[in-house]
């Protein structure tokens, strides 16, 4: 080529210098990204490649469907519980199992706790360092940070000059010893960093506070899930019985546990309201001019919805986290989404390393095929030790290209918030309006990398509030005499039909997640997961439509291509995962820089 238009409205030009970022992230499959920049260092072509086959689908075949949750939650190092939840929902859907109200409340609290936890850890420990410069934090007078802290969040107790001085000294020791610890290998002299040093020090301090605080959230999951990491789940409900008097069965939830969870929920709300959201607003205020990264968000967004208010009702009006699809940026119309309809969600493979009998057609996940077909295009450049440049005109990713009614879609907190806003959800609209007003920005500012980062913070706030809602709801239900947490009527496979299929869905922290299952003779006959990163990291489809990562990178100015902090900002804003090593190579494959990305 060199210039071409994609059907979904983007202009691609691959004539400029190629920059390779590899890996970007490794969880949910490793990921690599290649871009072409023009003479002004503006990204004109972007290629996102999943470089590892998850293969989960094939290892589940033939296994007991009641165990699928435990396998699926071992696949990811971060959002383990959400895979487990989605899996038990898929099996329950297939077998028409109704779960008790308490189980629904507990699952929702677990899922909301995961949302808050993941968002918080993502913001401070992965994404913050795309905006915050810890080295610059050494330059401030701690008094200035103390004044700033008291101004932006007067209710946060840790705000004295002495406190910030201590942190600064600790940081100084790390820097002076040449061991920046987790802050090693950043692009700390890059002009893309815009915060004044007092804000940098505040953010670094909260990086440490958040690390300390997040353990509280884990405790809640441990109480309900029996253990954490990898809490226990159960087809038919939750594996923790309730016994308020606290005598009798060991391991049952009693009033002491429930009070502990209640207290944790209060602390979570406090931390999000007094630290996370004020930090987000303070940092965003200095990057208002950095408007890149919108990509598909202003056009096509998708959410399956989650957090059923009443148990066993997965219709859109019972889901507190919104469901819907928006096409071509028309916020006036939110389309209903049906995960069972074979014409809605389909996966395509013309640019993916899989084989279909007819690759011009997409397959609904129930009919999904996961058969590897690794082949590279004729224009691939590389040596025997690595691919230097992928050929995106051919197959170029282990990620399939999922489409909703043929459209490439963005999923995740921003998608959910845009859909909630378009639907007129009262709480979401209030949060968005407050944020835009505080930052003095128009609604269009939402459709950006910063919008994605802001939506995540607002959603953490929302999720913390909803934890309280479900805790209160469950306590009321228990007090009314219902302590049931599991329905085991159909536990025994002998009660199952010979052949059934089901779908389970949830909103994982990083976006819409679906598991489709077919059960035959009590064993898994087919299992397909379409994970959020499949949507966002999707390669091109038959028509050449680009996916969310690729679209979001286009037209971004990169100050220094060898230090592509701008690329990382945008990719990280999708929460592809936790910390990882990033490797940058120039066109000739020579290593220019290596960073620690967090």
């Amino acid at each position: 080529m060199s210039t071409k238009q994609t059907p979904n409205g983007f202009s691609l030009d691959d004539s400029g210098k190629r920059v390779v970022v590899d890996p970007v992230t490794r969880i949910e499959g490793h990921m690599r990204c290649e871009v072409n920049v023009d003479g002004n260092n503006i990204i004109r072509n972007a290629v996102s490649t999943g470089t590892m086959w998850r293969g989960l689908e094939v290892i589940l075949k033939g296994r007991d469907p009641r165990d699928a949750w435990a396998f699926t939650q071992r696949i990811c190092g971060v959002c383990t519980g959400t895979h487990a939840l989605t899996s038990v929902r898929a099996v329950e859907d297939a077998l028409a199992i109704q779960i008790p109200e308490n189980a629904n409340s507990i699952r929702n609290i677990m899922q909301l706790a995961l949302q808050v936890h993941d968002h918080l850890v993502h913001f401070y420990h992965l994404h913050a360092l795309d905006w915050v410069n810890p080295v610059n934090a050494l330059k401030t007078d701690p008094k200035a940070t103390s004044e700033l802290q008291q101004k932006i969040s007067p209710r946060h107790a840790l705000s004295s000059p002495g406190y910030f001085r201590d942190i600064q000294n600790r940081l100084k020791k790390f820097v002076e010893s040449g061991q920046l610890g987790p802050f090693k290998n950043g692009y700390w002299s890059n002009p893309a960093y815009l915060l004044p040093p007092e804000v940098d020090l505040m953010a670094v301090t909260h990086y440490l506070e958040a690390l300390d605080f997040q353990k509280e959230i884990v405790k809640a999951r441990t109480i309900f899930g029996g253990k954490d990491p990898h809490p226990n789940w159960l087809v038919g409900g939750v594996p923790c019985p309730i016994n308020l008097d606290g005598v009798g069965s060991v391991g049952a939830l009693n009033m002491v546990n429930l009070n502990q969870i209640s207290s944790i929920i209060d602390q979570v709300r406090e931390f999000v309201n007094n630290v996370y959201v004020p930090d987000l607003l303070a940092i965003a205020g200095f990057y208002k001019g950095w408007t890149y990264g919108g990509g598909l968000s202003g056009m096509n967004v998708l959410a399956y919805g989650d957090i059923p208010d009443r148990a066993n009702n997965y219709s859109a009006d019972n889901l507190m986290m919104p469901r819907g699809a928006i096409i071509n940026g028309n916020l006036k119309e939110v389309h209903e989404v049906d995960l069972r309809n074979p014409d809605e969600i389909q996966e395509f493979v013309p640019h993916s390393w899989y084989k279909y009998p007819d690759e011009s057609k997409g397959l609904h996940p129930w009919d999904g095929i996961t058969e590897a077909n690794f082949q590279l295009g004729a224009n691939t450049r590389g040596s025997k030790t690595d691919i230097r440049q992928i050929d995106e005109s051919a197959k170029y990713s282990w990620i399939k290209a999922p489409r909703w009614k043929g459209h490439a879609m963005e999923v995740g907190p921003l998608a959910r918030y845009i859909i909630g806003y378009a639907k007129g959800d009262k709480e979401i609209t209030e949060q968005i309006n407050f944020t835009l007003k505080t930052l003095d920005l128009p609604v269009s500012a939402l459709f950006s990398t910063l919008g994605r980062t802001a939506a995540r913070a607002l959603e953490a706030q929302w999720a913390a509030d909803k934890m309280r809602y479900f805790m209160d709801k469950m306590l009321a239900n228990i007090k009314a005499g219902d302590s049931n947490t599991a329905n085991v009527e159909r536990w025994d496979p002998e009660t199952w039909p010979a052949e059934v299929k089901g779908v389970g869905f949830s909103e994982a922290p990083r976006g819409a997640l679906g598991h489709w299952i077919r059960i035959k003779d009590t064993r898994i006959a087919n299992y397909q997961c379409v994970v959020p990163t499949t949507w966002n990291g999707s390669p091109r489809d038959q028509q050449g439509n680009i996916g969310a990562f690729e679209a979001a990178l286009l037209n971004t100015k990169v100050e220094r291509p060898e230090e592509p902090v701008e690329i990382l900002r945008t990719l990280h804003s999708f929460d592809p995962c936790l910390a990882c090593s990033t490797h940058v190579m120039s066109e000739d494959g020579q290593e220019l820089a290596e960073v620690k990305v967090r």
């Binding site: 490794r26 470089t51 435990a70 190092g77 690390l211 690794f374 082949q375």
Partner: protein, 246 residues
Amino acid sequence: MSGATAKRLPHVLILGIGNLLWADEGFGVRAVEAFQQRYHTPDSVRVMDGGTQGVYLVQEVRDADLLVVFDAIDYGLPPGTLKLIEGEAVPKYLGVKKVSLHQTGFQEVLALAEMLGDYPQQLLLIGVQPEEIEDFGGSLRPAIKAQIEPALQHAVAYLRHQGIAVRPRSSPLEIDPYAAAIDDIRRYETERPGPEQACRLGDERVVWSGTYEVGYRPADLGGEFLQVGLDQHLDSYRRARFEREE
């Protein structure tokens, strides 16, 4: 908050990390499972399956005065070799070749704990060099499984040496019959579907291992066999950097 006071017993954490779905990568988790089933420990000891978790384990490490970690390691040793690494000698990178999903990683967990001023006073890594990790859905190879017992003996001896009263259970803990198959190595192995049904290919590197026949081979570039190795191509670079830092 770090450090044992004169009054309280040191907090001990016995942690197994790894990915059960990646054959020998699951060594750490299987070892810690076996430890829990076979040994009784005082209340000051926590035995934890850290699984594929990364940074979320940091509070566990911070709370520990004494940390014993079971994991798969890559020291270029013959497969199945057991290696004990203690204290400062514990390297920055654990896990094998970074394919394990927990690689995000334990190195960072240690760095963060250190930065927060709560590094364990005593640290023992009990590692085993894997034989096979590219067998998705597979279990431990016999040579690796055979190292579980010696690994437990080393852990017990180390803990006793530190004054921790570890004793064998009169009979091993029974595995919850309702537990998922993955949590029971026997069922994980025996209920594994055959290769014709559940293909063993983990990722593209397996395509190159020569063990499996695949329908298509990538284009031959310039007469050289093209290898796609996200991790391999970083290895020499990592080694160089590691040596520089050393």
